[in-house]
């Protein structure tokens, strides 16, 4: 097997630029999905920790559903199902089609909402790991709930949450490959197209693997740095 490495270059026959763009798209999708998952996951975690009975049940149901359904099904649901819903609404409003929902949006929402369920677990565990005594110490000096959260709970919970959130980020990156089913040209889609066109399957799927590894390794490094920084003051006696 003699693979032609110029296929990966930036020359006229090379796929280099396309692959770089696709790598960036993977990063965009992942960041957007992770952040929407973080925002929604925080709400879910809060509902589970501090909500009243119906709110708590609703949040638990959410986590059960999205943790128990294949991600690819959720993406199909949002992409194809979402298109149907948008069309129905548009038609009802008397607008003329065709109506569509972008693969990017559907993918980000789907992965974000699945990730929110998992992130809420991490955040809830981190909250519960905050020593009760330090919370009492905040209450007893007269802190409001907001100040207590901002100054006492969140900074301590963050320390516990960082490794778990790092794992969630890694799995979001890998799940972003599933968004290729919507036709969005991210890494997975691009290497599949390139492999099909050139018939160099091994070369391009290996290149795809390397792109994912670059992203995951770099971000692993970032999370490690964040963890080390957040552990100041905890060197002794663990956290």
């Amino acid at each position: 097997m003699q693979a032609d490495l110029t296929l990966l270059g930036f020359g006229p026959d090379g796929w280099g630029l396309a692959l770089a763009r696709a790598g960036l798209m993977t990063l965009y999708v992942s960041v957007a999905a992770f952040l929407s998952g973080l925002a929604f996951g925080t709400l879910i975690a809060w509902a589970r920790v501090a909500g009243n009975w119906p709110l708590r049940k609703l949040a638990e149901a959410y986590a059960t559903v999205f943790r128990g359904v294949p991600d690819i099904l959720v993406i199909y649901l949002f992409y194809f199902g979402g298109r149907q819903v948008v069309t129905a609404i548009g038609t009802a409003l008397g607008l003329s089609g065709p109506f569509d929902i972008s693969g990017f949006l559907a993918g980000v929402l789907a992965i974000g909402l699945v990730s929110a369920a998992n992130q809420s677990e991490v955040l809830r565990g981190a909250y519960q790991a905050v020593p009760r005594g330090t919370i009492e110490a905040g209450r007893v000096v007269g802190m409001t709930r907001l100040v207590l959260f901002r100054r006492v709970i969140a900074p301590q919970a963050l320390v516990t949450a960082i490794p778990g959130m790092g794992n969630q980020w890694q799995s979001v990156i890998k799940e972003s490959a599933l968004v290729s089913v919507t036709g969005l040209v991210e890494t997975m889609r691009q290497v599949a197209v390139a492999a099909g066109t050139t018939q160099e399957h091994f070369l391009f799927y290996a290149a795809g693997a390397i792109i994912y590894l670059i992203i995951t390794t770099l971000s692993d490094h970032v999370f490690r740095l964040a963890e080390r920084r957040s552990l100041r003051g905890h060197e002794q006696g663990g956290i």
Partner: protein, 258 residues
């Protein structure tokens, strides 16, 4: 000479945990400058009583007053308006926990300036100056930039005392401040509390250190099964208690310490 005014008062205080009635009607008044020791067997309700004052436990009935603020919660709950009053009361009280409960993610100095900055909204420079003086007072100037985890228990508790003082409290509540300490570290903490008593600070101290209670208190209160069984000057309570239970408790204690 004017008579000292009431810093803190408790009337008809009741608290149950489930079917377990821990406090069964407590009345207690602390005038400015009083040092009141609360003693009694474990389970007598003394820690719960102390925790009811800043509403860490919310009483089922009775009234707690600190300075001008007063609260009479019912059914173990606080309304939104009552919670606001509770926060104000907490601002006028210092509380020192058995387990120190320093904020581990903040340095010693940051622990002490936290409430002045983020609850009382005082200027940073002023808070730092005051905290520096307080750390000197508890003998920990050189530890101001250390993390709590790097301090001994005795040092952590002295930081906790400085943190309580930084609130400029009307009264300071101590919940068994030396019970979590190794025996050799008890002395340095008691020394600090003793100095505060000499300054005329108003303090309520739940303690098992009978010798210390006898020495620093203006008043000693013996609790038994959620009621005040005996109260008076240290001379009365330790020298000639009227209650047989109090007498038995004290003799048991002094025997054990011998």
């Amino acid at each position: 000479m004017t008579l000292p005014s009431t810093a803190l008062s408790i009337a008809g205080l009741r608290k149950s945990f489930g079917s377990n009635e821990v406090l069964r009607g407590i009345d207690l008044v602390a005038k400015d400058g009083d040092v009141i020791s609360l003693i009694g067997a474990s389970g007598s309700g003394k820690s719960t009583l102390l925790r009811c004052i800043p509403m860490l436990e919310i009483p089922d009935a009775g009234t707690v007053s600190v300075g001008e603020d007063s609260l009479s919660p019912t059914g173990g709950r606080l309304s939104r308006a009552q919670l606001a009053v509770a926060r104000q009361m907490r601002g006028h009280l210092g509380f020192v926990f058995q387990n120190f409960n320093l904020w581990p993610h903040r340095t010693v100095l940051q622990n002490v300036i936290e409430a002045p900055l983020f609850v009382q909204n005082r200027p940073r420079a002023e808070a730092v100056d005051e905290a520096t003086a307080l750390l000197e007072k508890v003998g920990l100037s050189e530890k101001r930039d250390a993390w709590p985890a790097h301090l001994s228990g005795g040092q952590q508790q002295r930081v906790a005392i400085a943190r309580a003082l930084a609130q400029r409290p009307r009264a300071i509540l101590f919940d068994e401040p030396t019970s979590a300490l190794d025996p050799e570290l008890v002395g340095e903490v008691l020394k600090v509390i003793r100095a505060l008593a000499a300054e005329g600070r108003t303090m309520l101290i739940v303690t098992h250190e009978m010798g210390f209670a006898r020495e620093v208190s203006s008043q000693v209160v013996f609790l038994h099964q959620g009621l005040i069984e005996e109260a008076g000057t240290p001379g009365q309570v330790f020298g000639n208690p009227a209650s047989e239970r109090c007498r038995a408790f004290l003799s048991g204690h002094f025997d054990r310490n011998r």
